[in-house]
């Protein structure tokens, strides 16, 4: 797959804290991810991975501390959002609309040029061209994940956030995902991905472990032990 992305975007968390009522999802976490990096996030359920990703996507505001997007110093929050793509736990698409209608709708919200041509190209890239006219609600889990990735890619974002992207994908789907992630990274995009999948995680150049909302470990991937016990 060929992705032609403009300059990428990094993200810096400065003593970030997030509370949901009495629950502290993130505890004074400081972390900097440079533009163009490919980072894998690990940690047990409830360790704060999803909150961190949604905070990077500007969907969640920190209770205290600051989130800064590196390379976006002179941009408005709206322009920063334009450069961010998110693949979340849920597909973020409308079941009642077809794959093509979903992507066309989001292309319209992003005011993209040549929207229809771009929608067709992205649908082809994620292998959904043959189901473009079918309602997203009729898709299998794996196909929904492909559509979710297509939705995130439609605006050619510079910072891509993946929350368990391999969930629901079969072996062929995982291979496709690995190729996609590699292609995006080679095109210069910043990738931050939470995952429990060793094969997908091995593509990342840096591994970060979270536990109970705190940064537990931050290593270059080559130095990271791959034992599942450590990761989970």
């Amino acid at each position: 797959m060929n992705f032609a992305l403009p300059t990428s975007l990094g993200v810096e968390f400065d003593r970030v804290e997030k509370r949901y009522g009495g629950l502290r999802a993130l505890r004074r976490l400081s972390l900097s991810i440079a533009p163009g990096e490919f980072v894998a996030l690990f940690g047990p359920n409830g360790s704060g991975k999803t909150t961190l990703l949604r905070m990077a996507a500007l969907l969640v505001q920190p209770t205290s501390g600051k989130v800064r997007h590196i390379g976006a110093e002179n941009l408005s929050p709206v322009d920063v959002r334009r450069r961010i793509g998110l693949v979340a736990h849920k597909a973020l698409v409308y079941d009642e609309l077809s794959a093509r209608e979903n992507l066309s709708f989001f292309a319209k919200l992003y005011a993209l040029d040549n929207a229809e041509e771009r929608v067709g190209r992205v649908l082809g890239a994620v292998g959904l061209a043959h189901r473009a006219g079918d309602a997203a609600g009729t898709f299998s889990r794996g196909m929904r994940q492909r559509l979710a990735i297509a939705r995130a890619l439609i605006s050619e974002p510079r910072l891509l956030l993946f929350d368990e992207p391999a969930t629901g994908l079969d072996r062929q789907g995982r291979e496709w995902l690995e190729q996609t992630l590699t292609g995006l990274h080679e095109a210069g995009a910043t990738l931050i991905m939470s995952t429990h999948d060793d094969s997908v995680a091995s593509l990342a150049g840096r591994s970060i472990w979270l536990r109970a909302g705190r940064l537990e470990r931050d290593t270059a991937a080559a130095d990271a032990p791959l034992e599942r016990g450590v990761r989970q």
Binding site: A57, V78, R81, L86, L92, V93, D95, E101, K108, A111
Partner: protein, 224 residues
């Protein structure tokens, strides 16, 4: 992207989904039909009685039907967390609310156009001579209901008791609109049909207040 275009995109999406599912319109149509039929058969009112009770009944039916419908409009966005996708898009947050407000307004207006003649037949009150003015009053009131209802629907979408919470929140805020709507409708359906400028001004004035408040608070309203 301009506010008008992004509002238009959200509105078009809402209409497309509703035309396929009929979730919201079916809810409203059956509820209003039930109210119109049940009260008519239960009381068999005379023409004079109908002229007295019909304004209140019409507004009661459309208010509660609207409440039922409005509860669903943001719940729909939670199924696949599509609200997050909308919030992530580089658009003015008010476009999300205004697109939904216009869609809800259109759904209710269609219901009113269908049901006002049905109310007229069931209660033996001739509304044709004042149909234009009656629809104007209903549309102004319905717009207020759509604005406030959509805003509160966004605020209560994640609440556990949202079915109870929404009407409880709506009633006090919409009281001026409901009072003005019922009074204006009573004047129109009275023995000497006419309409006081003060009621129309009140309906229009509150619509402007609601829209302005929604626009000012939209960023906060669609936050996490």
């Amino acid at each position: 992207m301009s506010l008008t275009r992004s509002t238009g995109a959200v509105l078009a999406k809402e209409l497309k989904i509703e035309l396929r599912t009929h979730d919201l319109t079916n809810t409203v149509l059956f509820f209003v039909l039930m109210v119109a039929g049940l009260f008519s058969f239960a009381f068999s009112p005379t023409v004079q009685e109908s002229r007295r009770i019909l304004p209140g009944l019409i507004w009661l039916a459309f208010f509660f039907a609207g409440t039922l419908m409005l509860q669903l409009c943001f719940v729909r966005e939670q199924v696949n967390d599509t609200l997050a996708a909308l919030r992530l898009a580089p658009i003015d947050p008010s476009a999300i609310l205004f697109g939904k407000i216009l869609a809800n307004f259109l759904f209710l207006v269609v219901t009113e156009i269908v049901f006002v003649p049905i109310f007229s037949v069931f209660y033996n009150v001739n509304v044709w001579p004042v149909m234009g003015q009656l629809l104007l009053v209903l549309f102004l009131g319905t717009f207020g209901l759509s604005v406030v209802g959509t805003v509160f629907s966004a605020m209560t979408a994640q609440a556990r008791m949202r079915e109870l919470l929404l009407p409880l929140l709506l009633l006090p805020v919409l009281a001026p609109v409901l009072i003005a709507g019922v009074e204006a409708t009573s004047e129109l359906l009275g023995a000497h049909p006419g309409i006081g400028r003060e009621w129309l001004s009140m309906l229009g004035g509150f619509d402007v207040i609601y829209v302005t408040a929604t626009w000012l608070l939209s960023g906060f309203l669609v936050e996490e």
